[in-house]
Symmetry: C2
Subunit: 230 residues, 2 copies
DNA sequence: ACGCTAATGTCAGCGACTGACAGTTGACAA
DNA sequence: TTGTCAACTGTCAGTCGCTGACATTAGCGT
């Protein structure tokens, strides 16, 4: 169930290879069906039938219909966490998170392609964002990642997460921007990875000024009055 | 189905009154069962049986088992929106949102009590936060409210929501903090309304400094170097 | 070749939810 | 008062996601 990567033995035995092939097939077929006829209009039976296994077998590989939709997303997230852990200590929290996403996106392409076409994953992301039930699940998963991230940031800065609210606050703001970015990207025309990368960079670099500036002033007013801001 | 409030005629006919009573009974019983034996361990049949109606009737009042869990939350949210719309134009976006939540909480008590005991609603909120399926739904609902809020803020400031990212960014940061606040409140001991109110006030007023300050400095460093911040 | 065990299939069943149809009951007019 | 209409409700059958139990198949090491 939880085997990650042998990474050395390509021939791990026929049994393992068969399992891997079944899993991949279920995943690929499921995403293909979801993105074409829609998540709700795809039954687990149809997925299982297409791969020629029983419905019961599907549920032995994926705990739910939902889980298969997030299988690739799962990979991307763990990549982000790994990247964040290796960020130099000199970077400030927000900068470290910013760079971690951007860097992880630079190397994730091939890892995805080993399982499903990247283009299919992009379509899957759009499907998740536009399917209420999946959007809900996506948001919940995001908060879990958010918690992990806050813990990492707190460790980085040598802070006590239970006593100091600042890590959680900064992470909340960060992921909030990430979510908005993802949604806007989905609404736009350009569904490329370069597109979402550029959008993310732009928005993240906009957050702090947006919170501090007086919106009614024509442009940046460094010495603005009101201490309360925004 | 969507009758809100006649607010004038107390005698709206026997039929209407019966419907209202059935709905209220279903709601109260459902929340009571959810909060005692748990959401997942409560079946729709049990709710319907307790009110002595058929399961089919339950689904004529509530589109899903989920919906009944959020019925009161629904009221609270629309109260916040109403409050936000009446905020004086002189207040800055973040301040307006801050005051809208705090003010709406001051007057929501009686409105809730008309349907279910406030204490039951508090327990319901805790249940939502600790039930994965409901937490997911809660987050999705929050983003919908977030979108409405962003639109209101944009109108207030005379900005084009589709062209200017700042309203969405500020709202995202705001609701991010609200979410964290709610979760921490749920983890604490004090489940009173005063408690969550104080926590919210504290955290909201912490957001901007937390983003701008250098965490490694002993305390506030107004003239900090690095322009990128956080 | 032969057990052992993991992987799979089959079957029965629960719970959320829906459509269709029939029965009941307020509302309103004659 | 009565009767008609429309709204509300109950019943039933069926779909779909998901699970436990048990039998069957098929790699694996000896």
């Amino acid at each position: 169930m939880t085997e990650r990567q042998a990474a050395e033995e390509p021939t791990t035995g026929l049994r393992e290879r068969k399992k891997q092939r079944t899993r991949d097939a279920l995943l690929r077929v499921a995403l293909e069906l979801f993105t074409t006829r829609g998540y709700e209009h795809t039954t687990v039976d149809e997925i299982a039938d297409a791969v020629e296994v029983s419905q019961r077998t599907f549920f032995r590989y994926f705990a739910s219909k939902e889980e298969v939709a997030f299988a690739v997303q799962e990979m991307v997230e763990s990549r982000f966490v790994a990247e964040l852990l290796t960020r130099p200590a000199r970077e400030r929290p927000f900068t470290a998170m910013r760079n971690a996403v951007l860097c992880s996106w630079s190397s994730i392409g091939e890892a995805i392609e080993a399982v499903v076409p990247v283009e299919l994953h992009m379509r899957t992301y759009l499907m998740i964002e536009s399917t209420p039930a999946l959007l809900a699940a996506h948001l919940r998963r995001s908060t879990e990642l958010e918690e992990r991230t806050a813990r990492i940031i707190a460790d980085r800065e040598g802070l006590d997460l239970d006593a100091d609210p600042r890590p959680r606050i900064a992470v909340a703001a960060f992921t909030g921007v990430m979510r908005v970015t993802g949604r806007l990207w989905g609404q736009g025309e350009d569904t490329s990875m370069e597109s979402i990368r550029a959008l993310t960079e732009l928005y993240l670099d906009h957050l702090e000024p947006a919170l501090a500036a007086d919106w009614r002033a024509p442009e940046r007013t460094p010495g603005a009055p009101g201490a309360h801001g925004v």
